[in-house]
C-alpha cells in the first residue's frame, strides 16, 4: 500500500472542493500543492522515477539537531522556560529512537536538571523552582525512564508524588493539571501513565477516571478534551491509553472510535489530521497513529479477525514523514514550509516508529509484544528506528526496565491512612488482570 504506489495521478486523489471554496478547502489545497512535488519523483506512474529504496531518514542530521539542543538553547527559547522538562523528554526520546547513545555527562546533566525541577511536594515543575504541574511531571518521569539507571529512577519520591496526584483528584474522577488549574483528558493520561510506570496505581487514584474519559467520547467516535468538546487526536490518544492502563477499554465504543480514527488518515498526504476537516500535521503521526496499536489490542482481546498488519496504511504514513516532514539540516516538522522543532521531531519519529513496528497484543501476558516479522520499512533498510511503547511512548526496552524495577517495590506509608497503603500493597506484584 502507500500513496506512491497508487496507479493514479495525484490529481485524481486530490481534495475536490466540488466548486465550493471555503477557508478549509483553500488551505487544504495549498498543503496538497506543497506535498505533490515532494511525492512526484517517486510516484509509480512517473517516468524515470526514483526507486523507493532511496527514501532516506536523515538520521545523522536529526541527531545533530537534537544534540545541539542539549548543549543549550538560545534566548529565543525563553518562551519555553516552563517547558524544560518537556524539551528534555522530546530530545531524549527522539535520540533514543534514533539509536544514539547518551554520553556520561549528558546523563548526569539530565538527572541533575530533572532533579532541580522536582518540588518538595513530589511533583515536577516545567523548570527549576517552578511549582508542580502534571504535564511536566509526566515528561520528567518519562525522561528518567529513558535514562534508565537506578540513580535516575531514585530521583522520584513516589510517596510524595502519589499524595500530590491525589490532591489534584476531582469528584468526577478527573485531575486538575495543577492546583487550581484546568481539567481535561491530558491530566488523566499524565497522572495514570506516570503512576503506572512507578507502580503507584491504586483504586483510589484510578476511581472514576474511566468514567470521565468515556464521557469525553463524542458522536464522531473520537475523544475530546472535556465532555462536549470536539473529537481530537491528542485527547483521543490520552483517553485511550488511560483506559488501556486501567483495563477499562470496554468503557468506550471502540468501533465508533476506529471509524473516526481511520478517517483521519489523509488520502493524498498519508499523514494524519488531528480533527475532521483539518490539515495534516506530522505530530499526529503519533497521536493518531498511536491509537491504532491500542485499538488493535481491544480487537485482539475481542477475538476479532483483522488484517495482520492492522488498520491503517503504514506505508503511506512513513512516506509522509520521510518525504514531507524532514528538514535537510536536521529536525522534523509539522508540514512542508514549517520549521523543525523538538516537539515535532519527537512525535514524527514516534509515529515513524509505530508505522515501522507492528505490535501484537499478548493476551496471556497482557502486554504489547513487537512482532519483527511484520516490520514494514519504507525506503532504506537503515531507516528502521527503535520500537516505541504504544502506551508510554518511551522505547519498549526502557518501559520494560522501569516497570520491572518498580514491580517489586510497593509504596508503603502513603499518608496516614492504613487502608490506602495496604491497598497499594495488595495490587503490587500482581499480574495486570487481577488489578482493580
Amino acid at each position: 500500500m502507500g500513496v506512491l504506489d497508487l496507479p493514479f495521478s495525484f490529481d485524481e486523489i486530490s481534495f475536490n472542493d466540488g466548486g465550493i471554496q471555503t477557508e478549509s478547502s483553500l488551505v487544504q489545497m495549498e498543503v496538497e500543492n506543497d506535498v505533490k512535488p515532494l511525492f512526484q519523483p517517486y510516484h509509480v506512474l512517473e517516468e524515470n522515477r526514483i526507486n523507493y529504496d532511496h527514501i532516506n531518514l536523515n538520521r545523522h542530521a536529526h541527531i545533530k539537531f537534537l544534540r545541539v539542543g542539549l548543549k543549550g538553547l538560545s534566548s529565543q527559547a525563553v518562551g519555553l522556560d516552563a517547558s524544560q522538562a518537556w524539551i528534555c523528554y522530546w530530545i531524549l526520546h527522539a535520540l533514543d529512537l534514533l539509536g544514539a547513545t547518551l554520553s556520561k555527562s549528558e546523563i548526569e546533566r539530565t538527572i541533575n536538571t530533572i532533579s532541580a525541577c522536582q518540588n518538595p511536594t513530589g511533583g515536577f515543575g516545567g523548570g527549576p523552582q517552578q511549582f508542580s504541574h502534571v504535564a511536566p511531571t509526566y515528561a520528567a518521569v518519562n525522561t528518567l525512564a529513558i535514562i534508565g539507571t537506578e540513580e535516575a529512577y531514585n530521583v522520584v519520591d513516589r510517596e510524595k508524588l502519589y499524595e500530590w496526584f491525589m490532591s489534584l483528584k476531582q469528584p468526577d474522577g478527573s485531575f486538575q493539571m495543577n492546583e487550581g488549574g484546568e481539567i481535561d483528558v491530558r491530566g488523566c493520561y499524565c497522572v495514570i501513565a506516570t503512576a503506572k510506570l512507578l507502580n503507584i496505581l491504586t483504586p483510589e487514584l484510578t476511581k472514576d477516571v474511566a468514567e470521565f474519559v468515556a464521557s469525553c467520547q463524542t458522536y464522531e467516535g473520537g475523544i475530546g478534551g472535556y465532555p462536549g468538546n470536539e473529537a481530537h487526536g491528542g485527547y483521543t490518544f490520552c483517553g485511550l491509553a488511560t483506559l488501556e492502563i486501567l483495563n477499562k477499554t470496554d468503557y468506550i465504543d471502540s468501533e465508533a472510535l476506529m471509524e473516526w480514527l481511520t478517517s483521519c488518515q489523509m488520502k493524498l498526504e498519508g499523514g494524519f489530521q488531528g480533527r475532521i476537516n483539518k490539515l495534516v500535521d506530522g505530530c499526529y503521526s503519533f497521536w493518531q497513529g498511536g491509537s491504532f496499536p491500542l485499538l488493535e489490542a481491544i480487537y485482539t482481546r475481542n477475538q476479532e479477525q483483522f488484517d495482520p498488519c492492522g488498520f491503517f496504511d503504514r506505508e503511506a504514513l512513513q512516506e509522509y514523514i520521510l518525504l514531507c516532514c524532514q528538514n535537510q539540516y536536521g529536525g522534523l516538522l509539522d508540514k512542508p514550509r514549517k520549521s523543525p522543532d523538538f516537539y515535532h521531531t519527537c512525535y514524527c519519529l514516534s509515529g515513524l516508529s509505530l508505522a515501522q513496528h507492528y505490535y501484537n497484543y499478548d493476551t496471556i501476558q497482557n502486554d504489547f509484544k513487537e512482532n519483527p516479522e511484520l516490520t514494514t520499512i519504507v525506503g532504506k533498510v537503515s531507516n528502521l528506528i527503535r520500537a516505541t511503547h504504544p502506551v508510554h511512548n518511551i522505547s519498549m526496552v526502557k518501559e520494560k526496565r522501569i516497570t520491572s524495577y518498580f514491580s517489586n517495590s510497593s509504596i508503603v506509608n502513603i499518608g496516614s491512612n492504613e487502608s490506602i497503603s495496604s491497598s497499594i500493597e495488595i495490587i503490587t506484584n500482581k499480574p495486570k488482570e487481577e488489578q482493580v
Partner: protein, 304 residues
C-alpha cells in the same frame, strides 16, 4: 552588570535559578528576563502580594506567555488585591492575538470571568477570536464553558449556523451545534430531529464531500430515541440520488451504517443474509473509492 530593572527593586534580594551543579540544555536567558525572574522568585518566596509584584508578572508574561508559574502567581495576587478585573481581561486580548493557543491565557480568562460572575461580552469576544482562527480549540472549549456556566443557551444554535455558513467544513462549529442541542438542560432532541436532519441534508446537498454534516446526521439520529433504520426510507434514496453522477465515500458510508442498522432489526436468517450481502457490497465499493482505508473496509466487510 548593570541592572535592567528600575530602582524600585533595590530592596529586593535576588533568588537565582538553582539548576544544580551542571545543567542540561541551559537556556541563554536575556539579562532582562533573568533579572526579573530572580526578583520574582524572591517575591514568591516571601509571598508578596503587591502592586509592584502584579506589574512584574505582567512584564514577564510579555516575555514568556506560556509560563504557567507566572499566571498562577498573578492569580494569587489578584485574589488579595483589589484589582480591576475588567482591565485584566484587556491584558488578555493583547497576548491572545499573538498566542491564541496558549492554555494559560484562556484559563486565566476563565478564572477572571468566574470571579466577576458576569459573562459580560464574552460571547462576542469569542466570536472575534474565532475570526482569526475559526477552529481554535481553546476558544470553542471556552465558549462551551461560558454557555454552561451562565446558562446562555438560547442564541447559540443561531451562532453555530453563522459559523457553519462562514465555512461549512468547520467541524468545530458542527460539534458545537451538537453540543448545544444535546447538552442544553431539558433539551428535547426528538422535537428538533426533523429540522436537524433537514439542516444536515441541505449542507450535504451543497457539498457531498464534506464529512462534517454526514457525521452530524448520524450522530444526532443516534442520540435520539430513533435508530438509523427508522430513517432508511428517507435517507437511503437521498444517498443514492446523490451518487447518480459519482460515488461519494461519505454517502456510501452512511448507506452502510443505515443498512447495518436495518440488519439489527431483522429476525429471519434468510433476511439477515440478504442484508449482509448489501452491506458487503457497499464495503467493496468503499475499498475501491476510499483507498487509504482499504484495510479497515475489508475488515468491516469480513465481519458480516
Amino acid at each position: 552588570m548593570e541592572s535592567v530593572v528600575d530602582q524600585g527593586w533595590a530592596d529586593v534580594e535576588r533568588t537565582y535559578q538553582d539548576e544544580g551543579p551542571f545543567e542540561i540544555m541551559p537556556i541563554a536567558y536575556s539579562i532582562e528576563y533573568k533579572e526579573k525572574m530572580d526578583i520574582l522568585r524572591t517575591l514568591m518566596k516571601n509571598n508578596e502580594k503587591s502592586e509592584r509584584a502584579l506589574k512584574l508578572t505582567e512584564d514577564i508574561i510579555a516575555l514568556s506567555p506560556s509560563n504557567y508559574v507566572i499566571w498562577k502567581y498573578r492569580q494569587e495576587i489578584i485574589k488579595e488585591l483589589n484589582v480591576d478585573l475588567k482591565g485584566e481581561l484587556n491584558l488578555f486580548v493583547e497576548y491572545a492575538e499573538e498566542n491564541p493557543k496558549c492554555y494559560q491565557l484562556w484559563h486565566h480568562r476563565q478564572v477572571i470571568i468566574e470571579k466577576l460572575n458576569d459573562p459580560l461580552d464574552e460571547l462576542q469576544f469569542i466570536h472575534d477570536m474565532l475570526q482569526y482562527d475559526s477552529k481554535n480549540y481553546h476558544a470553542w472549549t471556552y465558549r462551551e464553558w461560558i454557555v454552561r456556566h451562565f446558562n446562555l443557551w438560547d442564541e447559540e444554535i443561531k451562532f453555530s449556523d453563522t459559523m457553519i455558513k462562514d465555512d461549512d467544513r468547520n467541524n468545530s462549529a458542527w460539534n458545537y451545534r451538537f453540543f448545544i442541542l444535546t447538552e442544553k438542560p431539558d433539551n428535547d432532541i426528538e422535537a428538533v430531529l426533523k429540522d436537524e436532519i433537514e439542516y444536515a441534508k441541505q449542507k450535504i446537498n451543497f457539498d457531498p464531500t464534506n464529512q462534517s454534516p454526514w457525521m452530524y446526521l448520524k450522530g444526532i439520529i443516534e442520540k435520539s430515541k430513533y435508530k438509523l433504520a427508522d430513517f432508511a426510507d428517507e435517507l437511503l434514496p437521498f444517498c443514492e440520488n446523490l451518487q447518480k453522477i459519482e460515488p461519494y465515500k461519505y454517502a456510501l458510508e452512511y448507506q452502510l451504517y443505515t443498512n447495518e442498522s436495518i440488519l439489527k432489526t431483522l429476525n429471519s436468517e434468510k433476511e439477515q443474509e440478504q442484508q449482509k450481502d448489501i452491506c458487503r457490497t457497499i464495503c467493496s465499493k468503499l475499498e475501491e473509492c476510499d483507498k487509504i482505508r482499504k484495510k479497515y473496509w475489508k475488515y468491516v466487510r469480513e465481519s458480516y
